[in-house]
Amino acid sequence: MVSVMLPLTLKDVSVRRRGKRLLGPVNLTLNPEGLTMIVGPNGSGKTTLLRVMHGVERLSEGSATWAVPEEEARHRQSYVFQTPIMLRRTVADNLRYPLQLTAKPRAEIEELVHHWLKRIGLDARMGLQATRLSGGEKQKLALARALIRKPDVLFLDEPCANLDGASTRDIETILRSALLEKTRIIMTTHDLGQARRLAGDALFMLHGVVHERGPASDFFSAPQTAELQAFFRGDIIA
Amino acid sequence: KLAVTTSFENSGLADVLLPAIKEDLDLDVQLLVVGTGQALRLGEAGDVDAILVHSRTAEEKFVAEGHGTYRREIMYNDFVFIGPKEDPAGVAKAGSAAEALKRIGVVKPAFVSRGDDSGTHKKEIALWQAADLAPESFGDWYREVGAGMGASLNTAAGLDAYILADRASWLNFGNKAGLDLLYAGDAALFNQYAFLAVNPEKHAHVRNDLALQLEDWLTSPRAAELINGYTINGETLFIFNAKPE
């Protein structure tokens, strides 16, 4: 079943900090289905855009609206931050945390936690303080913590940046099966191979605005703007 | 520097005497307001030049140990019995201090004792003994608060209790609440203040010269006039009784 939360509509969104415009103006509608991939050079505003959609970044202008009331929408999204945020608890407690917020029965919580610990290969680490995990392990844990809530919409900010090849493939498999269950995914990546493999449609961010957008088929094989062509070549864009 | 007891400071007499001393002797007297015991200790250590207290036995011990050369009586005031206006023990009708205490001993109303070994406290103990009563055997109604005169009066006000206070502190006290002066006048209640200069042989740095100047002034007719003339609400507080040398 397609999520009733979408479409998400960004209208004239700008984010300014100390007089500088980091993002915008952005006008954008996200359809109910599929995976939207955001690419662009460092500092182009990908993270900021993702945060705006998720509602954790204060808007300076414009609005971001879901198809359902905001309070309801907030419950059904998960976000994996670019730098994983670990609660100062054990690995297992990090996974338990989002479930405990919703007063689920204990047995169900434990079952889910164990399922996901196994799924990301951290069952041997479950008693370890999450802050001590290796870079890649933290990223996997953050992703599992996001998925354990079974969100309708999932935001991922470079979820595979520190992952090895096998883990990356594994995560991609997880994402594909989530897509099949109609989870809406919006993610960023610097791995253009990954972008091609997963994207349904794609956005190219540059200097805080959406520079080019299109379905994956056209976007990657026939980029329209000179800037996106340069980006795919790996050239520096002025 | 002069160490004085809290009750002297609370009387407000210092505010009259100090400016006059400044005027006559061009002397800035710095008052250290402490408990009697602490005042004596300050003198022993040579941290003050003289002390003005009211506890005869302690003073004589101070002189006997050579911390001061002699004690000079300056003036006296008197102690008064304070208690709740309703006066459940009927202290106001007593004929003597001893009788007043006996009445308290019978009715056992709340009674606040300084309990700090001060001159006032020692006097109170002596009065109980004179009344053939032993405070150690008293029950809960007898409260030893271990505090200065003002703090003890505050406590008494809070408890609606009887208390022995010096007249000066009582008159100057602002938080009278439900309390009233119930009994006064027995000669046993007189309270002698004495001046003791710290022995310069023990502490070379003390300003004995200034202390002596001050002593001369305090025993002079001018001081007598000021002390006897000091009143609160029309009541005389102190009676000058220094004997000329």
């Binding site: 609660l87 | 015991g37 070994d117 271990g146 505090a147 809070g158």
Partner: protein, 234 residues
């Protein structure tokens, strides 16, 4: 100098002979200060955390006020509590004046701003770290406060210990509202003040050393219990 030595010796004797008076007032000190600490912590930890996480209009002002209240002179607190609890005051009927309860009330007022301020400061860092995650998980205000207090409990230790220290060493306020009544409201600090007034410095110091030893004992056992440093992050 001699007084200090004498004080140490006297303290030693008081302790080894299990002086019953000393036991009584030490226990009362502990009882009053620990009760005040528990109550103040129950108010101040959530309050300080709340101030760290919630942005409202007069937040900055509130924090400045809280910091300023750390400077509340105990004597003034004592006075105000005295006036409120006195027979003629609004809470006079409760008959709390000159009881340990009154002392606890005064101490709670004194240490709450201190604990709340330190809590606020400690929680600000943790909140900066957790901010995005807790907002993203759509936690309620109360859930956020609970999470921060729980995960930052090691950092809150200092806040509580500072509050306890201030409470156990305080004398000005409890002298006024407790009255230093023998066998009823006399605690270590008021006893020290009394002996100082009497000029019995050795005994005053002895009681002081007992108090310090008590404080050290409590601190070491708390540290030991919480294994603060063992669970350190590196």
């Amino acid at each position: 100098m001699n007084d200090i030595l004498e004080g140490l010796v006297a303290a030693f004797w008081l302790v080894v002979t299990f002086d019953p008076d000393l036991m009584q007032i030490s226990l009362r000190s502990l009882q009053v200060s620990l009760s005040a600490l528990v109550i103040a912590s129950a108010i101040a930890l959530p309050l300080g955390t709340f101030l760290a996480i919630r942005r409202f209009r007069y937040r900055r002002l509130t924090i400045s006020l809280l910091n300023a209240l750390m400077g509340l002179p105990p004597v003034v607190v004592g006075l105000i509590v005295y006036i409120l609890l006195s027979r003629s005051g609004p809470f006079g009927v409760l008959g709390l004046l000159f009881t340990p309860t009154a002392m606890i009330i005064a101490q709670v007022i004194i240490i709450t701003p201190l604990i709340a301020s330190i809590t606020h400061q400690a929680m600000r860092e943790l909140w900066a770290e957790y901010h995005d995650l807790l907002i993203s998980l759509n936690t309620s205000g109360w859930q956020r406060i609970k999470t921060l207090i729980w995960d930052g409990r090691r950092n809150l230790l200092t806040a509580s210990l500072a509050g306890f220290g201030r409470a156990i060493g305080e004398v000005g306020a409890i002298m006024i509202v407790g009255g230093n009544i023998d066998n009823a409201t006399r605690v270590l600090t008021t006893a020290i003040a009394l002996e100082t007034g009497k000029g019995d410095f050795a005994l005053a110091l002895a009681l002081g050393f007992v108090l310090i030893a008590l404080a050290i004992g409590i601190n070491i056992s708390i540290h030991w219990l919480s294994r603060t440093e063992r669970e350190g992050r590196w």
